[in-house]
C-alpha cells in the first residue's frame, strides 16, 4: 500500500512501541501532526517550550528505561532543542528527536525557518541524519531507535524535510538492522574479568566506584548482589547514586568535590579501585595526579573511549554493565577484608555530611538537609528530580535511594531548567510513582512555563523550590574563592541596590516572582514554608492534590553552603569541612 511519509512516520512510531510523544508543532512539521491527529495509540503531549520538551522526554526515558521521543518543527523549534539534546546525550539517555525541515528543494536557500539542524547538533548527539529520500524514511526511523538505545545510549536526531512527509511511498518498514559502521560490543572478555578478580582477591583495601552506567543499564539489583557477595564497600558518583541502596551497610557515600569524607578518604587510601560505568570526570577526581594513586584500577565501561581517558587504567573491561556484573557474579568470592570494611564504615558513621552545626541547631534553621530528610521519610515509592546548583548537590548528599526510588539529575552538562520538565516526563512515564522535583529559585525560572503542562496533564507532582534568593552555587564560589564579590548572583537585586552585596541593606526586598501566587495563576497549588515545623504539613497538603501539581517554596537562609568541599585543584582527601574553617 502507498502512504505518505507522515503516515509512515506514525506507523513507524507505533511499531517501535512508542506510547508517549513530546511534541510542539510548526509549519515544517504540520503534516506529521496532521497524521497524528485522531489516532489513539500514542499519547501526544504539548509542553510549553521545546527545551522543556526534550527534558521531559529525557525524564520519561530515565525513569522508564524506554526511548524518549520528541517532535518539533524546523528552525527555532530545532534550535530550542539544543540544550536538551546535549543534556540527555551527556548522561547517556536514549532519545529520538524528530525535527521538521524545509522541503529538500529549498535546503540551502536560507528559506524561512531553515537551519542546518544536523550541522548544529552533530557534535552533541550520538547520530544525526537528514532524510533525503522517501524510500529511506522507514529504515532511518528504525535504525534511529536501535542506535539510541543500544551500546552506550544517546540521542539520535532525524531531520525530515516537508516534501518527504508528503510524498507517497511504500508502507513497509524494514525489520532487520544493518548499520555497517555501528556494531556496539556488549559482551565482556572473560579473561579480563578473571584478571580483575585475581587482583581484587589479593587486595587489602578494595572499593567499588559505581557511576551512572549502573543506573543506565538498570543493573542495580545485580550490582547489590555482587557487592554483597564480595562484601566490598561501595562508593558512587552523583550519577551512580542508588546503584546499590543508599541505606545498605556496604554503601559509603558519594565521592567528588562535594563528596563525603569517608568516600573521598577511602578512594585516596584504597589499593584496588573497581570502577563500573563512570568516566572519571573532573568533578569526581579532584587533582587528577593524586586520584586513587595507591590503587590498581579496574574499569568496566561500555564505551572504549571512556577507558584510560582521564586516568590510566590497569585492567580495562569493555562491555555492558549488566553483562559484566553477571560474569563477575558467577566467579566472585567473598573477600576477607573485615578490617578495611570496618575502617570505612567507621569513617562513614563518624563523619556524616550534615548541616546540623551548633548555630543552625540553636536558631532552629530550616536547612535543605532537614527538608530532604523529610522527603526521604514521606516519599517511599518515588522519583526525585533535581535542578542544578546547591539544591542539586544537597539532594545528592542527603537523598536516600533504594529499589523503589530513582534520582534524575543533569550530571554531565549541569543544565539549569532540568528539574521541572524532567519531573513532568517522569510522572507521565511512571504514573504510579510519586514524583518530587527539587529546584533552586534561579533554575526553576528557566522552565517555569511548564507549570502549564503539568496542570493541563493533571500531574500531581510536588515541586520544591529552595529559595535562598541567590544563584547559590555561584554565590558560594564567590564567597569562598572570590573575596565575597557577589557579582550578579543576587536574585533580589533591584535597580536601586548599591551592588554591594557583602554589606547588603536591601535584604527585605520582596522576591520576584511570588511563587505561591504564580502557582495559583497557573491553576496549581502553592505553599510557602518558613519553619521546620511546617515541612511535613506541607508534604501532607501536597499529597492531597491528586490531579494538580503543588509548588512548595521553602524559604532558606541566603548564606548556606554545600559542604564539605574540595577546593579546585586540591586532592580529594583535602576538604573544607565547615563554613569559615580553612
Amino acid at each position: 500500500m502507498w502512504i505518505t511519509g507522515a503516515e509512515l512516520f506514525v506507523k513507524a512510531l507505533k511499531e517501535e512501541g512508542v506510547k508517549t510523544l513530546f511534541a510542539y508543532p510548526g509549519g515544517s512539521a504540520i503534516d506529521l501532526f496532521d497524521a497524528l491527529y485522531g489516532q489513539k495509540d500514542i499519547d501526544v503531549v504539548l509542553p510549553r517550550h521545546e527545551q522543556a520538551l526534550v527534558h521531559a522526554a529525557d525524564g520519561y526515558a530515565r525513569s522508564t528505561g524506554k526511548v524518549g521521543v520528541c517532535l518539533v518543527t524546523s528552525g527555532p523549534g530545532a534550535t530550542n532543542l539544543v540544550t536538551g539534546i546535549a543534556t540527555a546525550n551527556y548522561d547517556s539517555v536514549p532519545l529520538v528527536c524528530f525535527t521538521g525541515q524545509v522541503p529538500t528543494s529549498l535546503i540551502g536557500n536560507d528559506a524561512f525557518q531553515e537551519v542546518d539542524t544536523v550541522g548544529i547538533v552533530r557534535n552533541i548527539c550520538k547520530y544525526a541524519v537528514t532524510v533525503r529520500k522517501r524510500e529511506d524514511l522507514g529504515r532511518i526511523i528504525h535504525n534511529a531507535f536501535y542506535i539510541a538505545k543500544s551500546g552506550k545510549p544517546g540521542v539520535v536526531v532525524v531531520d525530515i524535510p516537508k516534501d518527504i512527509q508528503l510524498e507517497l511511498g511504500s508502507d513497509e518498514i524494514p525489520k532487520e538492522i544493518h548499520i555497517r559502521g555501528y556494531n556496539p560490543n556488549t559482551s565482556v572478555h572473560i579473561g579480563q574479568v578473571n584478571k580483575a578478580l585475581e587482583v581484587v582477591e589479593k587486595a587489602k583495601r578494595p572499593v567499588f566506584l559505581l557511576g551512572g552506567g549502573i543506573n543506565v543499564a538498570h543493573a542495580n539489583e545485580k550490582m547489590t548482589e555482587l557487592a554483597e557477595k564480595m562484601g566490598m564497600p561501595v562508593i558512587t558518583t552523583i550519577m551512580g547514586k542508588g546503584a546499590i541502596p543508599t541505606n545498605h551497610e556496604l554503601y559509603v557515600g558519594n565521592l567528588g568535590i562535594h563528596g563525603s569524607y569517608a568516600a573521598n578518604t577511602a578512594i585516596s587510601k584504597c589499593d584496588v579501585l573497581f570502577s563500573i560505568g563512570t568516566r572519571f570526570n573532573d568533578r569526581i577526581t579532584g587533582k587528577i595526579e593524586k586520584f586513587a594513586n595507591k590503587a590498581t584500577i579496574i574499569h568496566v565501561d561500555i564505551d572504549p573511549a571512556s577507558i584510560s581517558r582521564n586516568i590510566s587504567v590497569n585492567i580495562p573491561i569493555v562491555g555492558d554493565a549488566n553483562n559484566a556484573i553477571e560474569a563477575l557474579l558467577k566467579r566472585a568470592k567473598h573477600l576477607d577484608i573485615d578490617e578495611w570494611r570496618q575502617e570505612v564504615a567507621a569513617w562513614r558513621d563518624d563523619f556524616p555530611i550534615t548541616m546540623k552545626t551548633e548555630e543552625n541547631e540553636k536558631n532552629n534553621v530550616l536547612t535543605p538537609e532537614y527538608i530532604i530528610k523529610a522527603i526521604n521519610r514521606n516519599y517511599k515509592n518515588a522519583i526525585i528530580t533535581t535542578d542544578v546548583g546547591q539544591n542539586q548537590l544537597w539532594t545528592t548528599q542527603y537523598i536516600e535511594i533504594d529499589e523503589n526510588k530513582r534520582l534524575l539529575t543533569s550530571g554531565g552538562l549541569g543544565t539549569m531548567g532540568y528539574g521541572l520538565p524532567s519531573a513532568i516526563g517522569a510522572k507521565i512515564g511512571c504514573p504510579h510513582k510519586e514524583v518530587v522535583s527539587i529546584n533552586g529559585d534561579g533554575g526553576i525560572q528557566m522552565n517555569i512555563q511548564e507549570l502549564a503542562t503539568a496542570v493541563s496533564q493533571e500531574l500531581p507532582i510536588t515541586i520544591c523550590i529552595f529559595n535562598n534568593g541567590y544563584l547559590g552555587n555561584v554565590r558560594q564560589w564567590q564567597e569562598m574563592f572570590y573575596n565575597k564579590r557577589y557579582s550578579l548572583t543576587c536574585l533580589k537585586y533591584t535597580k536601586s541596590c548599591k551592588r554591594d552585596c557583602a554589606n547588603c541593606t536591601n535584604k527585605q526586598t520582596t522576591y520576584t516572582p511570588d511563587f505561591v501566587k504564580l502557582a495559583q495563576s497557573y491553576g496549581a497549588k502553592g505553599i510557602r514554608v518558613f519553619k521546620k515545623e511546617e515541612v511535613v504539613e506541607a508534604f501532607k497538603e501536597a499529597k492531597k492534590n491528586k490531579t494538580t501539581p503543588t509548588i512548595i517554596e521553602f524559604i532558606i537562609p541566603d548564606n548556606l553552603n554545600v559542604l564539605p568541599m574540595v577546593k579546585p585543584g586540591n586532592t580529594l582527601d583535602d576538604m573544607v569541612m565547615e563554613k569559615g574553617v580553612k
Binding site: 557534535n123 547520530y127 555501528y182 572504549p304
Partner: protein, 166 residues
Amino acid sequence: MKKRWICLFVENEIGVLARISGLFSSKSYNIESLTVGTTEDPTISRMTISMISDDKTFEQIKKQLNRSVEVIKVVDYTTVPIYMKEILYVKVSSCSEKDKSEIFRIAQVYGLKVIDYNKNSVIVEWVEKESKIDEMIELLKNTFPNRVEIVRGGSVAIESISVSNR
C-alpha cells in the same frame, strides 16, 4: 609526539566529512592533512588523515572515530607496511632564462615532470613521499624566493602486498 596516519572508511554521505573534521576540532585534535575520495564501492569514501600526537591522544582519536556511526572502519597506518604518496604542483613565475634552466635541471635530477611553461613561468608536477615533497618545497622556495605557488594534495596510502615495503 609523533606523526601518525589513519585510513578511514566512511559512509559516502552528505555531512560525513563535517562529522569527522568536527570530531577532531571539538576535541582540539589538529589534522595535518586529510584527503578523501570514493572507493571501488561508491557508497564508501576513504579518508587518509595525518596528525601529530602523543600515544594517549592518538588512542583516544581512534576510539572516538570508531564509535562514530558513520565510520565503517579505522585502520592505523602508522605501523603497517604501506605505499604512500602525495602529489605536488609548483608554479614558478617571473623566470629568467637562467631560472628556467635551473628548474629544468632540478626536474631532471629529481624526476619532477615539467607539465607546462611559457616565456616566464614553469609548472612542475611530482608524486612522492611527503618527506621528499617537504624537502623539494624547501629547495624551490630557497632557489626562487617569493615566486613559487605551491599546491600539495595531501597523502594517500594503500597497504602493501609484500610485508617488507614501507
